[in-house]
Symmetry: D2
Subunit: 371 residues, 4 copies
C-alpha cells in the first residue's frame, strides 16, 4: 500500500484524481492547516527490489489502479524510487547498528529533501506477537544496555519505532505488530518529545463492525454471537496463513467487540488465505442477536474491498495529522487518532462516530496550538 | 405490534422478562423519571375482533413470543381486552362525529383508569400518501368548517391525530401515514398545547442504513448505488403489495440516504410480499462505492428480523418519553425523538449516533424541566 | 455481447486464450465434428456506429476483457467491421422490403465469405411481449399477405427470424423476444427446412436456479417462496427498466420454477437498474423451504457475473451446434438445445444435468447423421 | 437426530404430518416395495439417560418440532423408550465382550419385535480419524485374534459395525467416522452376507455443493477458489470444535470438490462453533470462478438449516432402502446409495442428479430381485 499511497499522492498533485477516501480532505478539516497532499515527499525501505513503476503497473493488473495512471505520474514515481532503500535489518551486524543505520537514513532523507517532519509509517507484514514481556523492554536504560550486548530481541517493527524516535521522527503503526508498544520505547518517545499512533488500520470488516456494534448497543438489542470470516489473497493472505501472525491480527480485530458489547458475546474472527483474491478482501460477518421477549434475529454482511485502495488514503491522512501534531509540540501516544485503528492506543472508545467527533475537535485544537 | 407491546409490558410487570430492546431501559436513562413499564395501561381501537389472548397465542405460533408466556399474564391481557373497542370510523355518520367519538373514547379511557396522560400511537396499516395538499387542511378554521360540511377528507391517521389533540392527548405516528402532518393539525396541537412525534418507526433495514451511511461519509468513501430489497409477509406485506401504500413506505425509507449522502447516489428501495414469512422480514441491501483512485467496492447486508419484536419495545419507549414531554409542558413536534424514526419530524439529522446523543440530552432536560 | 464473441473467437484463433466458458470445447464434444472456433466468420447489424475496435476497448474499461487483448487481434476485428451494416429496419419503406433487404444481406455475407451455413443469432435488446395473437401471424399465407399490405406488425426479432428463414439460415434467439415463436414462422422454417432455437440465454441467476430447483425436488424438500432480485447496469439494465420489456424477461425467468416445482411456490423475479454496474450483474435469490415435521429453512445466493463474458461463449456454442444441425438436415425447433435457455422451445425439462445429457447425446447423433 | 427420526415416524404413522424431506416417499419410488414408515420399529444405545419424551420436548424448544406434537405420539415414544439401552462400551471388560454384548442386544431387539431385518445406523458424534492403518484391522483373522488379546483398538463406530455384521444386521454410517471402512470388517460383511453404506449424511452445505460444482463443470466455467464456513451450535458444534474430530468432517466434506472439479481449485472448509445456534447450522460458501477471456466472477450462498430436520428423514430412507437390499440378498458396500452421502463408499460420482438416477434405477432393480 506504500506504492498506492505514493502513486495516489502524485495523482492528486497532478490534479488527476479527487481525494476520495482521504478523511482529511473532508470539509470538516478545511480550516485545519495540514501539509498539502501534493507537498508530501515519499521514501522507504523495501524487502524486494521491484522498481516502483513496475509495482504501479502490477496494481493496474490487479484492478486497484486505473490503466494509464502510472505513466502519467512517472516522474514523481522515479523521484520516490530514488528514496527507496533496502532495509539495513538484514545486513546490520547487530540491532544497535541497525537502529543507528535506520535513524541515519531518516535524517538523511529529511535533510536531502529539506523537510520539516518525517513521519515513519509501518505498513509491512504483520509480525507474530511477542510471547511474553522481556525485562530488557521495560525501561529505556535496560533496552540501551541490551542493544549494546546484542540481546535486545526487538522485533523489526519496534526496531523501526526506536530508530524513528532516535531520529526525532513520529511513528505510526498501521499493523498489529508490537511497534512502539514497549515501555522502553514510550520512554524514548517522551525523551525525544515525538508523538506516535497506532495500531492496525481499520479498513474493512472492523470498520463496519465499529458502527454496527454501537447500533445494537443503542437499541438495547443483545448480540449473542458475532462470527467473522475474512478471505484474503496476496502477500497479506499468505502472511496471515501463519497461525501466530494471524493471532496478532485476530487479537487486534477482537478488541473492539469486547470493549463495546461486553464479554458475553460469543465472538470469533477467522482469517483464511484465498490466493486468487490478490489485493482484494472479502469479509462475511454473521451476527445473532436477541430482541424483545427473547426473539432471535440475524444480521449478516459481506464486504468486498480492495485493501490497498482503502488503506493508502488513511496512510496519507495519518502522515498529515501526525506531522501537524509534531509541529504543535505534542508527544506520546495520540489517542485522538483512534478513528483510524482497530486497536487504538490510549482509549477504549471504538464507536466510529464518537471517534470522528474526537478527531475533528482534536485536529482543530492542534492547529490552534500550532499557530 | 400492539399485542406484542401489551404482552411485553405485562411480562415486564410480572418480572418474567428483561427489557431487551427497550431503549429507555438503558443506563443512560436511569436518572430520567419515566413512567415504569409496569404502570403503563393499554387500550385501543381494533378493526378485527380476535380476542387479545388469541392474538397472543398466534404470536407464539409465529415464533415471536415464547410458548407459555401469554398464559402467565392472562389477567393483564384480559384487562387490556376490556379497553379495546371497534373503531368508530366505520360507523360514524360523518368525520366530525368520528373525531368526537374517538376523542370521547380517549377521555373515557383516561378517566376510568385515573391516568395522567394518554399517548395515542398509530400502529395501523400504512395509508397511501395524500395526492396533493387540500385547502381545507391548511388552517384549523378551514378544517373545522370542512368537518361541519363533511368535506374534510381526512385520512384515518389524521382523523385520529385530530381526535387525540382534541382530547388533549399527545400523538405518535409509528407509520409513514399522514397523521399529524397537516398545517391545520399543527395549529390544533399548538392550541391544545400537546406534543407529537413521528414518522415511521426505524426498526430494521433503515436502522442499519442509519449507521452505514454516516460510515461511508466519515471515511470519504463515495457510495454510487444503494439498492434495498425488502421481503415481508403477513398483513404488512399484503398492505405494502399495493403500490400506492408501498409508495408511502418507500418515500419514508429513502429520505435518509438523500439527506445523509446527497442526491448523487442511485438509490432504490423495493418491497416485495412473501406470505410465508409471516411476521418476519428479510432485507437485502447492496451498496456499491468508490474509494481511492476510483476503486469500485461493494457492501451487502442481509437483515432477518421479527418486526413486532423490534417495534413493540420502541412503542413503549415512545409512550414513556412522549408522556414525559407532555408532563413537562412541551408541545408541537418533538424533533429530538428522531432516533426512533425513518422520516423524523423537524430535523435532517439521520445518523443514529447523533440522534442518540440528542435523545439522551433531551430526556434529561425534559425531566429537569418537569421537576 | 456480439463484440465479446467476435473478440473472443479471434483471441482463440490466435491461441491467446483457452476456451473457458465454451461448452462445446469440453471433452464430451471432442468427437463431434463442429466448425472450429477459429473458422467462424462474423458479421451483423448494429444500431449504433461505434467502430468495433472502440467497442472492444470499452470492454477493457468495463473490466470484461484484459488490457491489451483488442490490439493483438486488431486485424480480425477490422475484418468483422467490414461485415457490420446498419439495420435496414429503420430505413426500409415497409416490412416486406425490410425482410427482403435483411435476407439479401445474409445471402451476400454467405456468398462473399464462401460459407456453408450462416446462423443468425438475436442478441439485441429485449422487446415487450406481443399483447395478443394477431390473425396475420397464424399462417404463413396470412403473414405474406399482410406483409404486402404493410399490416404484418412483426416485431423486429420476428422480422429477422423471417429474413433468416427466407435466406435459408438457421435462427437462434438469445433474448426473450418473440423471434420465431409465431405459427406463421414455424411454417416458413418447415418450408425452408431450417432449424431454429431459443429462447433467452441462461447465463446467471436462472442457471443457478436450474440446479437448485431440482435439488429441492430430489430431496423432497418443499420450497415455499423463491424471491429473486436482479441488479443490472448498462444498456440491458436501462432497457429492462421499462416495465413491459422487463415483463418479457420476467416471464421467461419464471417459467422454469413453475415447471420444476409446481405452482405452489410463491415465486417472484424483480429486475432493478443500477447504472454503475455497467456490464456486471448481481442477483440475490432468497428461498424459504419446508423440511421434515414442518421445519422452516432458508437458502440465499448472490451471483456476481459479467453478462457478456457469460453469454459470448454460449453464442459461439450455439452457432457451432445449430450449423451442425443444419448440415445434418434437421429443421424446426431444436428442443435438445434447452441447456442454453431460460425458456426453451419444445420441452418442459429445465434441470441442467438432464439438459446436458440430452445435449451431448443429441450432438453425437447429429454428427453421425451428417456423416 | 435419532429422536427426530423416531418422533417423525410416529407422526407419519398417526397421519399427522406429510413425509416432507423423505426421498423414498417421492413418486419415483412409489412402485418399490419398501417397509412402510409406520411399520419401522426403533431402538438404540444412548450415552445420556434423558427420557425420549423429554428430548422430544427439547426439540420443540429448539424450534425443530411443532409445539404439541410430542404429546400426540406419546405412546409410540414410550414404546421406543423401552428399546433404548445404555451402550455397553463403557462397561464391557474388553472389546470382544463389547462386540458380543452389542450383537446380543441387536438379536434380542429383532426377536422381541419379530423383525425381518434390523438396520444399525450410526448417528453418534464424529470421531477423530484413525491416524494410520493398524495391522490388526487388515484381515478378519487378525482382528479376531486382536479382540481376544484386547489389542483390537477399534473405534466405537467400527465396534458397532462389527457387532452389526456379527448379528447379521446391515450397517449405515451417517457420520464420517471409521465405521465399516476397515478391510477386516469388509471381510466380515462378506462372510455374513450383509450390506452396508456410508459415509456422512449429505444434509446441507455439501448438498448444495453437489449441484453447484457440476453446474460450473457443465458450463466450462473454471472455479478458482471455494471457501466454505460452517457455523454450528449444540453438541455437534462442540464436538467439531475439537480439531481432530473436525478434521474427519472436513476431509469428508472436501472429497467431493476435488473429485468433481479437479485438484486446481483452492478449496477450504472451515467449521466454527457458535453455541447459541443450537440445532441450527449456517453455512456460507464463497466461490470465485473464471469465465470467457479470463473474467473473474463470484458466487456466494448462505444456507440456514435445521440439522436434525434435514438428517432424520434420510435416516428413515436409508433404513428402508438398506433393509430392502438385505432382503434382496445384496451384501458389501452399497455404492448406489451415494446420493445420501458426502463421502460415498465405492464411487467417485458426487453429482446429485446422477446419484439420484442411479438410486432410482437401483431401487427398482433391488425390488425386482427381491420379488
Amino acid at each position: 500500500m506504500g506504492t498506492t499511497a505514493t502513486l495516489g499522492a502524485a495523482a492528486m498533485r497532478a490534479g488527476l484524481v479527487a481525494p476520495t477516501g482521504c478523511v482529511t480532505a473532508r470539509p470538516d478539516f478545511a480550516s485545519v492547516p495540514l501539509t498539502e497532499f501534493g507537498d508530501l515527499v515519499f521514501g522507504g525501505h523495501e524487502l524486494v527490489d521491484t522498481p516502483l513503476l513496475k509495482r504501479a503497473e502490477q496494481l493496474v493488473d490487479a484492478r486497484v489502479v486505473p490503466p494509464g495512471l502510472p505513466a502519467l505520474v512517472e516522474r514523481d514515481l522515479r523521484a520516490a524510487e530514488e528514496e527507496i532503500r533496502p532495509s539495513p535489518l538484514a545486513t546490520a551486524p547487530d540491532q544497535r547498528t541497525a537502529v543507528e543505520q535506520v535513524a541515519a537514513h531518516l535524517a538523511g532523507f529529511r535533510h536531502r529533501n529539506g523537510l520539516d517532519t518525517v513521519v515513519v509509517v509501518n505498513v509491512s507484514s504483520t509480525e507474530a506477537p511477542l510471547p511474553y514481556e522481556l525485562p530488557q523492554h521495560t525501561t529505556l536504560d535496560a533496552l540501551r544496555h541490551a542493544l549494546g550486548t546484542d540481546t535486545a530481541e526487538l522485533p523489526p517493527s519496534s526496531l523501526y519505532a526506536m530508530a524513528a524516535f532516535t531520529a526525532g521522527c513520529p511513528y505510526v503503526d498501521f499493523t498489529p505488530s508490537t511497534g512502539a508498544r514497549l515501555p522502553a520505547l514510550a520512554e524514548l518517545a517522551e525523551e525525544r518529545r515525538v508523538p506516535y499512533a497506532g495500531h492496525d488500520g481499520k479498513t474493512g470488516e472492523t470498520l463496519v463492525k465499529s458502527v454496527l456494534a454501537p447500533m445494537f448497543a443503542r437499541r438495547a438489542l443483545r448480540p449473542l454471537s458475532w462470527s467473522g470470516t475474512n478471505l484474503l489473497g496476496g502477500g497479506d493472505g499468505a502472511t496471515l496463513a501463519e497461525p501466530d501472525r494471524a493471532d496478532s491480527k485476530i487479537r487486534s480485530k477482537r478488541r473492539m467487540l469486547a470493549e463495546t458489547l461486553g464479554e458475553d458475546v460469543h465472538d470469533a474472527v477467522h482469517i483464511h488465505h484465498v490466493p486468487d483474491l490478490g489485493d482484494w478482501k472479502t469479509a462475511w460477518d454473521h451476527v445473532t442477536f436477541e430482541g424483545f421477549l427473547g426473539a432471535r434475529m440475524t444480521l449478516q454482511f459481506t464486504w468486498q474491498g480492495c485493501d490497498s485502495a482503502l488503506a493508502a488514503p488513511l496512510v496519507l491522512d495519518l502522515a498529515r495529522l501526525t506531522a501537524a501534531a509534531h509541529r504543535a509540540g505534542l508527544h506520546g501516544p495520540l489517542a485522538e487518532l483512534a478513528f483510524f485503528f482497530k486497536d487504538p492506543l490510549g482509549t477504549r472508545e471504538h464507536g466510529l462516530e464518537r471517534q470522528y467527533d474526537t478527531l475533528v475537535t482534536w485536529a482543530h485544537s492542534v492547529s490552534s496550538a500550532a499557530s
